[in-house]
Point group: C3
Chain length 271, copies 3
Amino acid sequence: MGVLSDRAAEDLSKLRNEKPLIHNITNFVAMNFTANTLLSMGASAVMAHAEEEVEEMVSSARALVLNIGTLTGSRLDAMLKAGVKAIENGIPVILDPVGSGATSFRTAAARRILETVSVSVVRGNASEILSLRNDNLSTRGVDTIHTVEDAAGTAKTLAKELRITFAITGPADLVTDGKRVLYVLNGHMLMVRVTGIGCAATAAIAAFCSVDKDLVTAAAAALAFFGLAGEIAGKKASAPGSFMIHLIDALYSITPEMLKNHAKIEDFSTP
Amino acid sequence: MGVLSDRAAEDLSKLRNEKPLIHNITNFVAMNFTANTLLSMGASAVMAHAEEEVEEMVSSARALVLNIGTLTGSRLDAMLKAGVKAIENGIPVILDPVGSGATSFRTAAARRILETVSVSVVRGNASEILSLRNDNLSTRGVDTIHTVEDAAGTAKTLAKELRITFAITGPADLVTDGKRVLYVLNGHMLMVRVTGIGCAATAAIAAFCSVDKDLVTAAAAALAFFGLAGEIAGKKASAPGSFMIHLIDALYSITPEMLKNHAKIEDFSTP
Amino acid sequence: MGVLSDRAAEDLSKLRNEKPLIHNITNFVAMNFTANTLLSMGASAVMAHAEEEVEEMVSSARALVLNIGTLTGSRLDAMLKAGVKAIENGIPVILDPVGSGATSFRTAAARRILETVSVSVVRGNASEILSLRNDNLSTRGVDTIHTVEDAAGTAKTLAKELRITFAITGPADLVTDGKRVLYVLNGHMLMVRVTGIGCAATAAIAAFCSVDKDLVTAAAAALAFFGLAGEIAGKKASAPGSFMIHLIDALYSITPEMLKNHAKIEDFSTP
């Protein structure tokens, strides 16, 4: 409860009323789960990655997700085009650097997107965030082998330099624009056993950012909302299959009032 | 109940006995859900989109689905090849013009398929159907912003001109070949919150058309069957995650007898 | 119970402790289900198919899955590159020749992988296994129209010639390296109604092979484990939608002790 929870509840109300269309250029593993996440929470979703159409498609959207999982060269080109157009159109671009650090192809792709597109928010795990700056990071696939704390410093520095909001997810999530620092404590341990859960959280951030211009509060609100869905699912399910179904259900069922009462967002900004 | 419900029940019996193989060239979001829809209802499914193999693959199938979601240029080429071969082989081709109207790339693709392939049935939402004829239609992603009634006239005209059966899905579904007009009233409001549900309905139409040469009754039967699965799911689930699982279950569990008793197909043809 | 069940239980313990990363180059239909299978059973999963990164990605993995469903030319090139690198690195490569025999493109692809990469295990249905040797086999999409027994001889011959372990799945699964012959009797009839179930079984084999160098026992253990998950799901669900969710749950919940008590692996090797 408090100002941040009130804001999260307001964002959710707005989202449910406005049903913003979110354009996703995302990986093949998480595409279905991401679309269901957006539809269930009350947003609208479109997936399109052909270079021939991304600029036109993003022009009817209110936020753009760029996710580099299962990346190919041509999908990267489409991401750059769509990203530049989104910024031109004044809508937020949310980057999910899936597996950045695991291969030089992904690391280079994530960095190139950051150089070419004025990304609004980056959401990743600690290893992925660290890889955006550190060249000799050891990582392992799309899992993190670092803690949120390991990446906090890098996130704050990059946030200031690039004027980007960073969201590092883990047991506790950190959201920072380099000045403000929020922690989100909602979530459940089974979330790491469901594929594409991070990708879906990124899409939730995009949906919240489409209705709230304060990207730090919007990203934290989205993660509190998504984490609360995990908590509710975790009370009903004890294994990943039914957990993911209950999570999708909870995204639909959580009311602004529930989010207001159960969001755990803490302000750790130093004045 | 009535002649149309009897026919729907017969189609379902035939389908369960014959297990027709349906070849799908479809989008990445709905691929898994579409395959599970077909398997659960009693058909067989294959997904293949490489130009090198689509003609050979479609030659062992009894219906072909062409779905332009997440389209790319090379997948369009494969669709044209497979479509021409399917018609040569005398099997029905079902087109789902996902997002036609949302980008000129998709609109052009849908129209090019219609010009090149003697498509049997087109299944889309109202905006998608309207886009096949109207050049300056405003749309929004893959959602419809028009009602089934808005598109009914265009569907009837195009149906006559192109000798195609049109199925426009919405709160009530309309099926027409330009002369006959059937309405299908089965369905549930949660269906719009599950991604790929329209794509799966298209695949169900393909399965019914593979066992019933009267495409109007077959398409209506398929939509009644699919909508009934939604109704059954809607009694068991109150949110989209569990709803989609119960829907897949219902596709498996609905018997011809149940379909006969609960199909809501109404004949609005004017003599 | 017996030596083989004990070994299966040990493998599962090891897998849960070591959480091996499995690199999958797989089809678009089964990608999500495969990743959830691996995560739920306790392994880690990464999907990556760009030629630019597969060699680097596979170098942090402990097993590689090559699955030719929804194949394209460029994905085949990536498979060959990744496969060669995996063998160089000394990790097992598991091939799933989805739809081999259904089109000459797939048959040629499966054979080319076998020629280029020293594959460790091949997992397929009877028609797919037969197609690796027989040129004029009639098949139908990705379904088998042959029995496990039909393919047993071909599997044994190829196993000896190519020094590969073969796993033919069906009502009873056969695992052979040409000398030893194991049958796995776990499983449930609803498994054939869930798309990608064979692909997921292949990934489970990869996970077990990453912790057990005896590929015959590892593959049999994986199939017993996966089949037992099907049996448990089949007790809780009577239709494919809820069945697949319970199956994912069971992959998470089955303990080494349960596997030890319920694995049905029989040794039919002739001395």
